[in-house]
């Protein structure tokens, strides 16, 4: 269980990026945070990763307080961040330095196979397309089998087709090992395709604005009415979080849906 307990982050220059974020993410849950730019969603992810520990409150994973990068927490950044001097296979195996050679090779081969890049094992990162490179980055983060995988807008730099493809891919990989996924995105559709729970973050400072459960059956059909309904709900919450007012989903409609027991 990953718990954030009143997590706040104030930068040395006095800027408060996060304020009193409390949440609990169950093992194997897919938790997606969404919000306008600059609302602190990346900061939240970085506090969980241990790269930038919180200045208030604490991040706890199974009783361990996280103040530095932890072996049970992997992260995929917005950019692939592959090491350009290592072949793809060595990039994937980067986190397995201490493992016996044979096991390392097996795991790397397995991971490359899972992301469909076996033929790229002996290739330099610069020779990969954007989508391929991000797949390698995901493989690299998953190969040490972390309990929690953090994803910081991992697909935002990709074209729409590749993005949809990688979302499906991510779900496949998730289904294998069922790690907890905590993802940050500004793409509402992406959030709904993936999430069990969506959290809308509000900026200045970053606070939990609203949590929306999302338990549509998988695989999720982007064209379905149910999908569209959740989408409108999230958009409305986002809108309100940005103080634009004008909710697009009427209260009555939401309540009726709740009564139908569809979403929570």
């Amino acid at each position: 269980m990953l718990v954030l307990d009143r997590v706040g982050k104030t930068y040395p220059n006095g800027v408060r990026a996060l304020d009193g974020i409390s949440l609990a993410v169950a093992p194997g849950e897919i938790f997606v945070t969404i919000g306008g730019s600059g609302c602190g969603k990346s900061t939240m992810l970085r506090t969980i990763s241990g790269l930038d520990p919180p200045t208030q409150g604490r991040v706890v994973l199974d009783g361990t307080i996280i103040t530095a990068p932890h072996e049970q927490i992997g992260i995929v950044f917005q950019e692939p961040r592959l090491l350009p001097w290592l072949h793809v296979a060595d990039n994937v195996g980067f986190g397995l330095e201490g493992y016996p050679k044979l096991e390392r090779r097996m795991r790397v081969a397995g991971a490359l196979d899972r992301v469909g890049l076996t033929d790229k094992a002996r290739v330099w990162p610069r020779e990969l397309s954007g989508g391929q490179a991000q797949r390698v980055a995901i493989a690299r983060a998953l190969v040490p089998r972390p309990q929690v995988l953090l994803l910081d807008e991992p697909f935002s730099a990709l074209d729409a087709f590749t993005r949809a493809d990688l979302q499906d891919h991510l779900l496949d990989l998730w289904a294998d090992l069922k790690p907890t996924l905590v993802m940050v995105t500004h793409d509402v559709e992406e959030a709904i395709v993936l999430a069990d729970r969506i959290m809308v973050l509000r900026a200045h400072p970053g606070r939990v604005y609203e949590e929306i459960a999302c338990d549509l059956p998988r695989p999720r059909d982007r064209q379905s009415a149910a999908f569209d309904f959740v989408k409108r709900r999230v958009l409305a919450a986002l809108d309100r979080s940005l103080d634009r007012g004008a909710p697009t989903v009427e209260e009555g409609e939401t309540r009726a849906a709740a009564g139908g027991g569809l979403w929570w």
Binding site: P69, E71, F77, E79, R81, L83, W85, G95, R126
Partner: protein, 273 residues
């Protein structure tokens, strides 16, 4: 479907690349050889007596004579020996101080202004002091060369360490690399391309400084050969020594490129076809 086409194309492309590998350096020889031939013809035809600018044949003969008596080897070896030691010390000091100054902001603030101040001193200005301190023999020469090598290496390493991408370092942090592992697995490979360039710049200065050192009182070395040629009025010997410098400088630079190339194969270089 495209795989077949690519495979068929490979051997042809490879042989073409092989031919290009031989021909491309040859292209660089075209200009000096043409000039040499023209000058040779000009002297043979009597347009010039070639006394102050000896024709290639005379230079070649001087070269051959010097080599036959063993003088050329002796002088070249003395110079190479000095450059090698000076380069070694300069690189060691430049690498260590450059890495520390790049890594730690405090050291940078402490060290860098002084070093930049020293860098502004024309290096020949050190010569009288070094001779007083270290005598007129090898030590002062080697130290002068080391000073020349030091600055480009120091600047190159420091700049390279400073410009290592924070995002790449973060990858190392995510995988919990300790200080030494971080240096070995992230920082070292990341600075490698800039380091090789710094080494090459340092070596170039090393060859410049060996000459300065040898001008100031040496009884061996290619620099001595130059001075000797001037004092005895033997322009062919001067040109022969210059040519020897050019060959040795180019060869040593090529050696660095050769040794470092396996470590830099990953670079996404601007390829000149």
């Amino acid at each position: 479907m495209t795989a077949g086409v690519e495979q068929a194309g490979v051997p042809q492309a490879a042989s073409k690349a092989g031919a290009a590998r031989v021909l491309r350096p040859a292209l660089g020889l075209l200009l000096p050889i043409a000039l040499a031939v023209l000058w040779e013809i000009a002297v043979r035809m009597g347009f010039s007596n070639g006394r102050l600018v000896p024709p290639p044949s005379v230079i070649w003969n001087t070269f051959a004579d010097l080599a036959a008596t063993g003088e050329l080897q002796q002088h070249a070896f003395a110079t190479i020996w000095r450059v090698a030691w000076g380069f070694l010390f300069g690189v060691l000091a430049g690498t260590i101080l450059g890495a520390i100054a790049g890594y730690s902001a405090l050291t940078y603030r402490l060290l860098d202004p002084t070093l930049q101040g020293l860098r502004a001193v024309p290096s020949i200005a050190w010569v009288p002091l070094f001779i007083l301190w270290f005598g007129i023999f090898e030590a002062s020469k080697i130290i002068l060369i080391a000073v020349g090598v030091f600055f480009p290496v120091y600047l190159g390493v420091m700049g390279a360490v400073l410009s290592v991408d924070r995002k790449i370092v973060e990858v190392g942090r995510v995988f919990r690399l300790s200080g030494l592992a971080m240096v070995r697995r992230i920082l070292l490979p990341a600075v490698m391309p800039a380091y090789v360039i710094a080494l090459r710049a340092g070596l170039g200065l090393g060859w410049m400084f060996v000459l300065a050192a040898e001008f100031l009182g040496a009884s061996t070395g290619l620099g001595f050969l130059l001075i000797d040629g001037q004092q005895l009025g033997k322009p062919a010997q001067i040109v022969a020594a210059i040519v020897a410098f050019a060959i040795l400088g180019k060869a040593s630079d090529w050696l660095i490129v050769l040794v470092s190339s396996p470590f830099l194969r990953w670079e996404d270089r601007f390829a000149r076809a």
